[in-house]
């Protein structure tokens, strides 16, 4: 049942992605209600699939949850900011992540059978949401830089027509960072709580990665909020932040490969 629900979500995310990409291929844009409804339906199946997932251990469930939050943020960006171009990144990424999670196996054999406690699940959920917000900040920054380049170069093609205005992308980047930082902070605090109060096993690599994410995200928020960076400079800062978090994760994962643990 869990893989079936994930497959349904995968299919609906793929259709939603096709709707987002269609105008870039010169096809007529789908009605806005449809571009919102299809991913939402996928999210419905996805949430049920994730809720039934026990034990919540390994890389696959985390990737699946990250995909869910990416789609949630995609729908929120479209609904609140009319930034459907966010889906150009989040659509294929979320679809790919769900596909990868299914390939890895959502409930692989040989995992410890002990279920995680609610605090541990909350820690994972909040941390992954924070990570998705960081990813959204990166996507908004990338879209900003692309639109900036087209506007500066006076090219009036697909990017000019279909991407949101520069200021809106800057606002989306700002909001993602400002909301992402407290979310990651809460995730880190819950991680410490789980480790020291709950007695659960937390690997050193997780602590290193969690702290690094918190620090670089804090820096990105600091330069935006305290030093009032905006526009291109803030976009570069967001991209550097996301790249650092991703590269350190890859490095740590290469040091301890395997799909049974997220880190």
């Amino acid at each position: 049942m869990i893989p079936v629900l994930h497959l349904i979500a995968l299919g609906l995310y793929a259709v939603g992605t096709a709707f987002v990409l269609a105008p870039f291929a010169g096809l007529r844009a789908a009605p806005r209600a449809l571009t919102l409804a299809v991913p939402l339906l996928g999210m419905g199946a996805h949430v049920i699939g994730l809720a039934r997932l026990t034990p919540f251990v390994g890389v696959a469930p985390t990737l699946s949850m990250l995909a869910l939050f990416l789609v949630l943020l995609q729908v929120a960006s479209e609904g609140l900011f009319r930034a459907s171009a966010v889906g150009v990144f989040t659509g294929p990424l979320a679809t790919g992540l769900v596909g990868l999670a299914l390939l890895i196996g959502l409930t692989p054999e040989g995992l410890p059978s002990t279920a995680r406690g609610p605090w541990s699940i909350l820690h994972i959920t909040v941390s992954v949401l924070g990570l998705a917000m960081l990813a959204l900040a990166f996507i908004a920054a990338a879209l900003y830089l692309l639109q900036f380049r087209e506007l500066k170069a006076r090219r009036f093609g697909q990017v000019f027509r279909l991407f949101p205005p520069l200021e809106r992308l800057d606002q989306l980047n700002h909001l993602s960072l400002v909301l992402g930082f407290p979310t990651v902070t809460l995730g880190v605090l819950l991680g410490f709580g789980v480790r020291y109060a709950g007695g659960a096993s937390v690997d050193a690599a997780q602590v290193v990665w969690g702290m690094l994410t918190w620090l670089v995200l804090g820096w990105a928020v600091g330069v935006r909020v305290v030093r009032h960076w905006a526009g291109r400079r803030a976009a570069f800062a967001s991209i550097a932040t996301f790249a650092a978090v991703l590269l350190v994760y890859v490095a740590l994962k290469l040091a301890a490969p395997g799909t049974q643990r997220f880190l």
Binding site: R28, L151, K152, R168, G231, R232
Partner: protein, 419 residues
């Protein structure tokens, strides 16, 4: 019974002729009254800067001549207005209005302003429109809305001033509340300023080489007048700059505006250079967060939108054709009722006359006379039943108009639409 459009538009008449034909809202009722007096049962006058068109419900085909006479008077008698115009009837008249409402007949393909102008024309002529034109204009507005929502005919910015708005809208989240500075007194800048103002942009400053000219424009726009030298400092706080001076060389240079731009703190500045030769040194575009566009760029945006819009013409024409048939089915049904009544009345007169004549020759008892009356009535009903049913069915299916004309011709009924 006929729907007719008589008028001129931007394709058939030059601007100086269209200007003479243009009707202000107060002139419309009197002109319509004059045309209706010539025999039309209803009329709507659509008058914009690009067209003056009388839509008439004109059973006798007598009103077009009255329209041409009325318009010719506005030419001063030297020329005939009909030389500049066209007359279309029935389906083609309906198709014409639907195409106008959809923006298919506009100078700028797909422009949306015409929809409001069609609505205004209908509102102004409501008292004189009559039921058929009332329904026609109602449906024309729906056709316009349908074309715009189901096709890309109104997508993008298809003129240089509207392209200026489109470009600015790709930089700023909302244009409402943004401030604009106008450099120079060119017509294009004024046009672009009008387009931006319709999106809520406030023209706060007007600068010109001569202060008096700047003051005159500033008063019109409720802005503050400046000399050119005073303007450079305001590049720090304005959002959009529209340049349209008559200077033979660039007046907006790096040296003049770089210090002010540096004080913007990363906020974008959109400079729209609408002058030929250009007012802004291209080096200014190298300044951080400055987005500079000249008239060629805006025309490129407009041309791109126009190409895209042209691609949607077949889809829009398909919708128009569909809606013309739908209207014509309704209109055909509307025309059937009075003709059937006239046919029945005529047949009833023949029957009554013939029965009276027969009764006069025969000496029948009252019972037999009643029998004969009843027999003739039944016979008439039987004769008329099949044509009535066939005509009503054809009208319901949108094919009633041809049959109706045949019936009128065969039985010599009412006025005929010979067109």
């Amino acid at each position: 019974m006929s729907i007719t459009v008589v008028g001129v538009n931007h394709r058939t008449a030059p601007l100086d002729v269209r200007e003479r034909f243009a009707h202000g809202p107060r002139e419309i009722p009197a002109s319509l009254e004059r045309v209706l007096a010539a025999g039309a049962r209803g009329g709507v006058l659509l008058s914009t800067c690009n067209r003056t068109e009388f839509y008439l419900n004109d059973p006798d085909d007598s009103a077009p001549e009255a329209v041409w006479t009325l318009l010719s008077e506005r030419l001063g008698g030297a020329r005939r207005a009909s030389e500049y115009g066209y007359t279309q009837r029935d389906r083609e008249a309906v198709r014409h209005l639907y195409r106008v409402s959809a923006g298919l007949d506009s100078m700028i393909l797909g422009e949306t302003q015409i929809q409001g102008q069609v609505r205004d024309a209908w509102e102004l002529s409501k008292a004189q429109a009559g039921p058929a034109l009332h329904r026609l204009f109602q449906s024309a507005l729906l056709v316009g809305a349908r074309v715009r929502s189901e096709t890309g005919l109104a997508a993008g910015a298809a003129s240089a001033p509207s392209a200026a708005v489109a470009v600015a809208a790709k930089i700023f989240t909302h244009l409402a509340g943004r401030s604009a500075l106008i450099l120079g007194a060119g017509d294009m800048a004024e046009l672009a300023a009008t387009c931006l103002a319709s999106e809520g942009v406030r023209v706060t400053l007007v600068a010109n080489r001569t202060y008096e000219r700047a003051k005159a424009i500033a008063e019109e726009l409720r802005a503050r007048a400046l000399t050119l030298d005073e303007a450079w400092d305001h590049f720090a706080d304005t959002d959009i700059v529209l340049c349209s001076t008559a200077a033979p060389h660039a007046v907006v240079t790096w040296d003049r505006v770089a210090p002010a731009v540096a004080r913007r703190g990363g906020r974008p500045l959109c400079i729209l250079d609408l002058a030929v030769p250009r007012d802004v040194d291209p080096a200014v575009a190298q300044l951080e967060n400055v987005f500079l566009y000249d008239i060629d760029d805006l025309q490129a945006v407009a041309a791109q939108a126009a190409v895209q819009r042209r691609g949607d013409i077949p889809a829009a024409e398909h919708i128009v054709s569909e809606e013309v048939e739908r209207f014509w089915a309704w209109y055909g049904g509307l025309a059937v009722v009075p003709v059937l009544k006239e046919l029945r009345d005529q047949m009833e007169r023949v029957r009554a006359d013939e029965v009276a004549r027969a009764l006069h020759r025969m000496h029948l008892s009252p019972e037999d006379r009643a029998q004969l009356e009843h027999f003739s009535q039944a016979l008439l009903n039987k004769f008329l039943h099949q044509p009535t049913v066939a005509l009503k069915e054809a009208a319901g299916a949108g094919r009633g108009y041809g049959l109706l004309e045949a019936l009128k011709r065969l039985f010599g009924l009412g006025p005929r639409d010979d067109a």
